[in-house]
């Protein structure tokens, strides 16, 4: 009894520690992508990019409201939001009026270094008669335009006024879609980390209150919509929380109900619940210790741990049955070897999961694996005394032993094999492997629709498809990016690319700047100055009042100088720090992917990146690994059983229910036409691991009482199937794959035991040679 009381005390301590120490994270990137390989690593970083993750895209709907009123409202809202100390900045277009003035004056002295990606041809064009005439006409038009004062101030550093046209060209990349008179949209960047769920939730609430207060002054005629990484993060968090609550409640409720139906004993229920709770606490704490956090999906998937671990508790309680004291300990000792084998086969299944490459499943494997070890140890060393403490003497009310007789017989065995093989043959060829991970992502269709609509109002750039440029240094990255841009300009002229966000001319490699300066300086001579003077005069300009043309200054523009200007806001989403150095991103508008792929193939260091294609490829890789792991998992389980039974044939017999169950599932999935993905394979692996337990329990029959053993398996199978089936109630589609694979698979495996493993008499073990 002392051990039982100590266990209860430890359970209380573990519960307190788990509540205090466990950090739940719900970021989907953590679960799907690891930082091990380049693309997924970048993708994970991209999804969590500090700048992008902090950003909201806000849309105000104002149909039927006149333009000045709408403008007044939106301006007031922007001001009110900008005043919040949680807001870093609010903006509509990349640069404010003040920013533009600052940038014009910043870039004017660097114009000669940033002339063009094709320095020689640009200098020839510019200093030729037509180029000079065009430039003189530009100066005249600007002087006679709305802001001659600005023109005069720029001419000091930029005598040919190259900056204006240069800025116009650079700015064209950021053109917005045609304005929608019924909507106004703008960006907002918070001081808060994008994935700080609680803070972002509070901020969204505060934003809604600010909007509501302002809107009430306008009779509620405006409507607020917003999107962005924090919106998805908060909603996913809420969805995962709902799933955890729903699945936990449902699975625990089902298991309790079933346990009550089977045992009709509240004390047995309490005992099982305590052991399950302790198991879950140990698993959570160990996972927290190893990873530093526990993912919400691990917790959701981990609730299936209940369905697996309860097998050991129930199986042991049924075998301990009405025994007392030392007899109870003896009964559990007797079945301990078979529990160990069962636990080992399940552990092999979960270990195989961790080799699938799917980062989230490594955590699930650790969580569930540690839970299984804890559950086995509790069963062996605590359960007998707990049963004594709670004075539990159970006798299962459910008895399906008639199945033992009904299913036995060689004929029925062959019939079942024939049916299942037929089913596999019919459906196996129709299995459709789906590798679209987006189907597994949280189903937030409404949010996704809103996101698409708001983004369409704010940008012509397509999210999720871009060009990645990598290099050993910033200089190398910029040089490669400039090569890419030369090709993108060509594709644009060919109509194969609508738009892109460039790095040049905001920043340029030293090499390109030097080439521009060299080309300009080589061309500069008194004759050029004379020609320019004449051109100015010919265009009605007073040449004497203009500064003389000079050679390019020696100092080059450094990227860090540009990053100290308002351009930093743009470049922050394009120059991303990377573990290997710097990664540049060139965002793309509508384009022909194949044309880009063909073009970029010839540029080392540049890659076309499609987030969706990449995720699909990633999913395909995970799925192929999962297929391999399924085979390896079963082979290792077979090897383990062969060693234990000292016979491969006996080991195969123990595996038969599991193997037939998997064949049946594969056949039925194929016939259904529904796509199978990586998580279905994982479900099959879990099915195999659990069903092998039943085969082992059934064949070894350590209690020497076949009916009791089958009773124990019956109760275990029903509770396990119920726990997994409860995953089907989740909003998260990924969990459905497991629910509708494992639950029917486990039931099929259980029902196949008496059919395939036969009946050798009530008191016999198939393996009397095993001790």
């Amino acid at each position: 009894m002392t051990r039982a009381w100590a266990f209860l005390l430890v359970t209380a301590g573990l519960a307190a520690a788990a509540i205090q120490l466990t950090t739940i994270r719900t970021d989907i990137g953590d679960f799907f992508f690891s930082s091990g390989s380049a693309d997924p690593g970048f993708l994970a970083g991209q999804l969590q990019s500090d700048e992008l993750a902090r950003r909201y895209l806000i849309s105000i709907a104002h149909p039927g409201i006149d333009s000045p009123t709408a403008m007044e409202f939106v301006t007031a809202l922007q001001q009110a939001l900008a005043e919040s100390n949680q807001v870093r900045r609010v903006w509509t277009e990349p640069f404010s009026q003040t920013d533009i003035l600052q940038l014009l004056h910043f870039y004017a002295p660097h114009q000669l270094h940033l002339l063009s990606l094709q320095p020689d041809s640009e200098v020839s064009r510019l200093l030729g008669p037509a180029g000079m005439a065009s430039q003189a006409e530009t100066i005249r038009a600007a002087l006679l335009g709305p802001d001659p004062s600005l023109v005069k101030s720029l001419l000091t550093d930029d005598p040919m006024l190259l900056t204006l046209a240069w800025f116009t060209r650079a700015g064209q990349a950021y053109s917005r879609p045609d304005a929608d008179p019924a909507h106004s949209a703008f960006f907002l960047e918070t001081q808060l980390a994008g994935l700080d769920i609680v803070a972002q939730q509070d901020f969204q609430q505060a934003m809604a209150e600010i909007f509501g207060a302002l809107n009430s002054r306008y009779d509620g005629r405006f409507t607020l919509e917003y999107t962005g990484v924090p919106v998805f993060a908060v909603n996913i968090h809420a969805q995962v929380r709902r799933d955890i609550t729903r699945i936990s409640t449902l699975s625990i409720g089902l298991v309790i109900l079933l346990s009550w139906l089977v045992f009709r004993s509240f004390r047995a229920l309490l005992c099982i619940s305590i052991m399950l709770f302790t198991t879950a606490c140990i698993a959570a704490l160990l996972t927290q210790w190893v990873y530093g956090y526990l993912h919400g999906l691990t917790l959701a998937l981990g609730t299936t741990l209940i369905g697996i671990c309860i097998d050991y508790f129930i199986h042991s309680m049924v075998h301990a049955g009405a025994s007392t004291g030392a007899d109870r300990v003896q009964a559990i000792r007797r079945i301990w070897p078979v529990l160990l084998v069962g636990g080992a086969t399940t552990l092999i299944g979960y270990t195989a999961l961790s080799f699938s490459g799917f980062p989230g499943l490594k955590q699930v494997a650790l969580f569930t694996g540690s839970g299984i070890v804890a559950a086995l140890l509790i069963t062996r060393y605590i359960l007998p005394e707990l049963m004594g403490l709670f004075r539990i003497q159970v006798q299962p009310r459910i008895n399906l032993s008639w199945l033992l007789a009904a299913g036995a017989g060689t004929r029925s065995r062959y019939l079942v094999i024939a049916i299942i093989t037929g089913c596999l043959l019919a459906g196996g060829t129709r299995i459709h492997w789906g590798d679209d991970l987006s189907g597994l992502a949280p189903s937030l269709q409404q949010l996704a629709d809103t996101d698409r609509l708001i983004r369409a109002r704010l940008s012509s750039i397509e999210p999720g498809r871009f060009i990645l440029v990598t290099g050993e240094s910033m200089e190398a990255v910029l040089q490669t990016a400039e090569n890419v841009q030369r090709q993108l300009s060509r594709l644009q002229q060919q109509g194969k690319l609508d738009a892109y966000y460039p790095l040049f001319p905001w920043v340029a490699s030293r090499q390109l700047q030097a080439r521009n300066a060299q080309a300009w300086n080589d061309a500069m001579n008194p004759a050029v100055q004379e020609r320019w003077t004449k051109t100015l005069t010919d265009h009605g300009l007073s040449a004497a009042a203009f500064p003389a043309l000079t050679t390019a200054p020696e100092s080059l523009l450094k990227p860090e100088q540009a990053m100290a200007t308002p351009v930093a806001a743009l470049l922050a989403t394009q120059l991303l720090p990377d573990t290997a150095g710097t990664t540049a991103v060139i965002w793309l508008g509508k384009h022909q992917p194949q044309a880009l792929l063909d073009t970029l193939r010839a540029i080392p260091g540049a890659r076309y990146f499609s987030q969706k294609d990449n995720i699909r490829q990633l999913s395909r890789n995970y799925r192929k690994k999962a297929q391999t792991m399924l085979v390896w998992g079963i082979l290792v389980i077979l090897a383990l059983l062969s060693v234990r039974y000292r016979s491969a044939v006996d080991a195969l017999r123990a595996l038969t229910p599991a193997a037939l169950s998997i064949m049946l599932l594969l056949g039925l999935w194929g016939l259904s036409g529904a796509p199978m993905g990586m998580l279905h394979l994982i479900g099959l692996l879990l099915t195999a691991a659990v069903c092998v337990d039943y085969g082992v329990f059934f064949l070894e029959n350590r209690s020497g009482n076949r009916v009791r053993t089958f009773q124990a398996i019956t109760v275990s199978a029903i509770t396990t199937a119920a726990a997994f089936a409860s995953l089907g109630a989740a909003e998260y589609p990924a969990l459905h794959a497991l629910a509708w694979t494992v639950a029917p698979g486990v039931l099929a495996g259980f029902l196949l035991c008496p059919v395939m493993l036969g009946h050798t008499g009530n008191g016999e073990s198939t393996f009397n040679h095993i001790k």
Binding site: P68, Q97, L104, S153
Partner: protein, 217 residues
């Protein structure tokens, strides 16, 4: 479209528009600055013709332009007719400057309703809801009448470089302004002559016809 460059106080066509909005005012000897400015705010559509002359050191000779200008509660349009056709359209949230001959299409997102940079005080008088007291914080304002004319002069209290150092608006007694002179620190100068063509519904129709001819943007 991304805006291309900022306009400052020397946004001449806009100043022209602002001044033209004063035209219909019937100033009298009894008018004070406050009462005149109180009636400046745009209440109905108006159509003006104008002549602009720029005296810039960078130009070898003074430059002249003529055209039409429209003001309404929703927008201000300046349609330069000669020497080339250039359109400037200012709405609450945006300013467009279109020079078809130069293939120039510039767009400026305004940070406040009608707040054209450098023009804020004037646009505030035309389109805002407050009086002129804010103007006096940044400008020395003088208002005088002499020889059958009234003269309003604004000079910024602080100079930072190229901006206007003096703006003078004047008109015949009993009439709105018909002349505007702008001077910058380097000695450059621009003059405007204005005359009212129509107002009310007629001006509104003419404004709409002008907007209809605007290139798609």
């Amino acid at each position: 479209m991304l805006l291309q460059y900022r306009m400052k106080l020397a946004s001449l066509p806009l100043l022209l528009a602002a001044v033209a909005a004063l035209l219909p005012l019937q100033a009298t000897a009894q008018d004070t600055l406050g009462s005149v400015l109180e009636r400046i705010r745009v209440q109905e559509a108006r159509h003006f013709s104008y002549r602009e002359t720029r005296y810039l050191q960078l130009l070898s000779a003074p430059w002249q332009a003529t055209g039409d200008m429209y003001t309404s509660r929703q927008q201000m349009v300046i349609a330069q007719q000669s020497p080339t056709r250039v359109m400037t359209v200012i709405s609450a949230g945006r300013m467009l400057h279109i020079d078809a001959a130069q293939n120039m299409h510039r767009s400026l997102k305004l940070e406040q309703p009608f707040a054209v940079p450098g023009m804020e005080p004037f646009m505030q008088l035309l389109y805002g809801t407050t009086g002129h007291s804010e103007l006096e914080q940044d400008y020395v304002i003088s208002f005088d009448t002499a020889e059958q004319r009234w003269i309003l002069q604004l000079a910024p209290r602080q100079y930072t470089g190229q901006e206007i150092i003096r703006m003078q608006i004047s008109g015949a007694t009993g009439h709105g302004p018909d002349r505007l002179v702008l001077e910058t620190a380097d000695g450059d100068r621009t003059e405007w002559q204005l005359s009212l063509v129509s107002q009310g519904m007629a001006a509104g129709r003419e404004l709409q016809q002008t907007l209809d001819r605007l290139p798609a943007h």
